[in-house]
Structure formats: C-alpha cells, structure tokens
C-alpha cells in the first residue's frame, strides 16, 4: 500500500534527498524543510520504495503536506 511522508513543520522545501525507485528504511531522512532559516530533517516512519516525489525546492509547505509517497509492503 502507498503511504506518504509529510511535512512536520511549516516552511519551504529545502530539498528532497530521495529519488523515485529508492528503497529506504524506517527512520531514514527523505527531505529537509527550511523553517525560519533552520533546516529541519523529515524522516520516514516506514520502510518502503519511493513511488513519487511531490515536493521540490522552494515549495511552500504546511504541516501535514505530503512530500514523498512510498510503496510500503504489508
């Protein structure tokens, strides 16, 4: 099933550090948010394979906005 990794702080997307097809583990950093000039690391709760990258640099983010989609094995 597909799960999203969401923004944990409001701000601007600094970068997404994974690509579609990457296999990632639970706890791995997938993106970085720039909130008031501080870089906040966004980590995945799940292990899985990146199916979509939804954010790009400078995107405005609110808490809860999906940044990366993962295909998670059940």
């Amino acid at each position: 099933m597909e799960k999203s990794v969401n923004a944990i702080m409001p701000g601007l997307c600094a970068r997404v550090v994974v690509n579609v097809g990457d296999k990632i583990s639970a706890g791995q950093e997938v993106a970085v948010i720039n909130c008031m000039k501080t870089e906040i690391s966004v980590k995945s709760e799940f292990a899985g394979t990146v199916s979509q990258v939804l954010s790009k640099e400078w995107d405005e983010l609110q808490v809860g906005n999906p940044m990366v989609m993962l295909e998670v094995e059940e």
């Binding site: 702080m9 409001p10 701000g11 601007l12 909130c35 008031m36 000039k37 501080t38 906040i40 400078w58 405005e60």
Partner: protein, 448 residues
C-alpha cells in the same frame, strides 16, 4: 534629497527606516510578499506594493519585482535594509542602472568585496592584521598539507565567495585535506558559483569586536565606536553592546585608524561595519566587512546620538559628513537584546500567530525596534528575529539593569521566544563582569 524611498525588506527594519524618513520629509514605499500582506511592518508606509509569493526567491530576493515596484510608485531611491539583496553588487547595479539612488556602497565595491581573499589582502595592505591564514585561494590539497605542517591543525577551508556561516570546512589532520578540499570546492561551486577557498586558522575563544563607520564620497570616514557581539549562537548574534568592556582607549585608536585606512582603500561610501576578532592575548584581527545597515546599529546610535539611517540617505545623494572623528562623542553604555521566535531550550523555530504582545515602556533610554501587533502572523519563511530591545544608561551595570527590566515586561503569547535566554545571559555573573567570548552560550548556559 530623496523624495520617495522604497524599502526592499521586511520586518522591524521597515518601520525603523520609515521613522527617519518621516523626520526628513521623505515619502516611503514598503514592499511585501503574499505571506506578509497583513503584516504590521506595512502600517507606517505611505504606499505598499505586493511583489510576489511567500517564497523569498520570488519576492524579497527578486530584483526585477522590486525595481518594477519602484517604477510603479515613482520611488527615486531604494534602501535594501539588511540581509536579502542588501550586499548584492548586481542588485546595486540594477538599481543604479534604473536611474534610482542606491542607499548603500557603490556596486563596484560590493562586487569586489564579495571575494574574501580580496578583502583580506586589502586589509593587510592597509596595515591591519587579518585572522591567520592564506591571502590567496589554495589550488591543491598539497598546499593545504604544506600550510598545516607549518602552522598546525586544525585549520579551516573557507569559501572565497561564502557567507552567512556557510562553506566553512574543518581540516583536523593531513589525511583529511584531499577530501575536504574537494568537498569545499563543490559546495562553493553549487552555492556561490566559485570553488575557490582559502585557509584560516582558529583563533581560540575569541571575542567578536566590530567597528561601525560612516564614509562619504569625499573620502571622509568617521567611526561610531566599536560594538562587542561575543554572545552568539551558531554565528547568530544575541546580545550586542557598545562600547566593549574589554577594548581600551589605545586599542580603540588603532581599530579606528585601521578602519579608516581599510575603508578608504576600498573606496567604500556609505554606512558599514568592519567585523573582527580579539584573541585571548589581546590581539585584534580583521575578519570581514558588512556592507549594509546592521541589525545592531541602534546600539551605536544610542552611544553617539547619530541617526545612522539619516546619514545613509544623505551620503547616498552625495552630501558630505558634517563632522570629523573628533566631533564624535561616545558617552554612557548601550546594550541590545535580540528576541527570536524560537524555543528557549532547543532553539527550534516557532512560527505561528502572536495572540497578544505587551511591549515595555519606551523612552529616551529605552528603544524597542519591532513590527509586532496582537494577532500578527510570524511566517515560517523568513528570519526568526521578532524584535530588538535596546537600553542606554550612564554605565554598563545600569544599562544592563534597564535592559533586564524591559525584557521582564515584554510579553509575547502564541509563539515561543528567547526572552528567557536573554535574561539568563544578562543575569550571569561572568557576563556582568564583562568576561565573555563566543563560546559563552554553550559553556555557561549549556545550550548549543
């Protein structure tokens, strides 16, 4: 004189600049992003212009949008404030090319001093000492190793075009030289368009001492006292004061002489600051020039009675400074605390809505520079600084006591602030004794 000034910035510095404009009869234009459309900093401006979305790259950093706003409103001058485009030579050039007055140093000077090696060399030629290291970019890892075997480790590779604390890479032993050299070069190429880096060694436990100056087009330079800004966290200043409790009159005379020599050699015109370090054994090293109005300028204004913004505007239209150095009197003591929208324990950012704000009573000896109001939003897209509280009194202990009293009366609800951190610093016995260096917050407060 300037008739209508556009302020290319946001937050507390906008009302600060407007205050002087009103005294001088200059009309004002404030610009803003979508995220700032109801921001209190717009309230005092004669006109406001929406210049783009929240993303600063498309608003406060967009040269085209800002120059278009100036054209649209008939502004004849641009003040860049601090941060954003304030030190970009290309922006200064674009403003000048559009036929507008640029309130800042000449574009050619801004372009030249964007190279730290150029500035370091120039300072040495002017007779100042710079932080030990190379004056030219290093061209190979072997050069780094050769420097290290002569001067020891650790050393730092710094980007020639770097800034804002970015692009400083530590080399702890010769085996790391090749890898760090390569990494620094690629960061420099990506972030600043140049891979050049040079070497600086470490000044252990330095104090941060800087000199505020004004320079006019006729070549007159006056210094408005030094400021001590040793209380910092991750290269971000928290408390600034003037004069420094550690600089003696003979040191000050040398600092002033070096400042005037460097500024003249640069061909610098306008307000600026030379930042430097003081080592534990009392040596002074020039570090860099901040080619703009600085956040902490009110400290020097209290100390000298000079309105720095007024003189920026006068110098920008070619007026000469009305004084020589001997006319500048530094009396009493001034101290500033910056208040950030951050968690006071973790320094984690705290954007949101300020439901209620209570400001301390201001007056001749207490100033609060801010752009806050009940219900205002602190957006997550920009700098976390909310306000500056500046106290003045006849001596340092009295000025500190006045600042403490003001901070205790300052209340902000809805977002977290660092007011309690300021109080912990100001009430600390070492700080009160004037004993500090840039590691103070980590060492005495256990905060990183």
């Amino acid at each position: 004189m300037i008739k209508k000034l556009l302020i290319a910035n946001r937050g507390e510095i906008v009302p600060r600049i407007i205050r002087t404009c009103r005294e001088m009869g200059v009309a004002t234009v404030a610009v803003h992003s979508e995220a700032d459309k109801n921001a209190p900093f717009l309230d005092l401006a004669d006109e406001t212009v929406l210049i783009g979305p929240a993303n600063p790259a498309l608003s406060y950093l967009s040269m085209e949008a800002i120059i278009q706003a100036a054209r649209q409103t008939g502004a004849d001058a641009v003040h860049p404030g601090y941060g954003f485009l304030s030190e970009r030579g290309a922006f200064a050039q674009a403003v000048t090319d559009a036929g507008l007055v640029w309130v800042g140093p000449p574009p050619s000077v801004l372009k030249a001093i964007s190279s730290k090696c150029y500035t370091r060399k120039l300072a040495v030629e002017a007779g100042a000492e710079v932080t030990p290291g190379t004056l030219e970019p290093v061209t190979s890892p072997e050069e780094v190793v050769a420097f290290g075997s002569e001067h020891g480790y650790p050393l730092f590779l710094k980007l020639d075009k770097g800034g804002g604390g970015k692009g400083i890479e530590r080399v702890s032993e010769p085996g790391q030289a090749a890898e760090v050299f390569k990494r620094a070069g690629s960061i420099g190429q990506m972030a600043f368009g140049s891979p050049d880096c040079y070497i600086e060694t470490v000044v252990e436990r330095p104090r941060h001492i800087e000199v505020q100056f004004l320079a006019d087009a006729a070549g007159n330079v006056v210094c408005l006292g030094e400021r001590e800004c040793s209380i910092q966290r991750r290269h971000q200043k928290i408390i600034e004061e003037a004069l420094s409790p550690v600089v003696d009159p003979a040191d000050r005379q040398r600092l002033y002489a070096n400042t005037a020599a460097i500024v003249k050699k640069m061909g610098y015109v306008g307000a600026g600051t030379l930042e430097g370090l003081r080592s534990q054994d009392g040596k002074y090293y020039f570090m860099e020039v901040n080619a703009r109005l600085q956040v902490e300028h009110p400290v020097s204004e209290f100390l000298t009675g000079v309105d720095i913004v007024r003189h920026q505007l006068e110098i920008a239209v070619g007026l000469e400074l009305p004084w020589s150095q001997s006319d500048i009197k530094t009396q009493g003591h001034a101290i500033e605390a910056r208040i950030y929208a951050e968690d006071p324990e973790t320094f984690y950012p705290s954007p949101g809505v300020i439901s209620k704000v209570v400001l301390p009573q201001t007056g001749d000896n207490l100033r609060v520079d801010h752009a806050l109001a009940d219900g205002c939003t602190v957006p997550p897209y920009y700098d976390p600084m909310l306000a500056k509280v500046i106290a003045y009194d006849q001596d340092r202990p009295k000025a500190i006591a006045r600042l403490i009293e003001a901070l205790k009366a300052f209340q902000v609800e809805g977002v977290k602030t660092t007011i309690s951190v300021n109080l912990r610093i100001l009430e600390h016995p070492s700080f009160l004794a004037g004993e500090m260096d840039t590691s103070f917050i980590a060492e005495h407060l256990g905060l990183t």
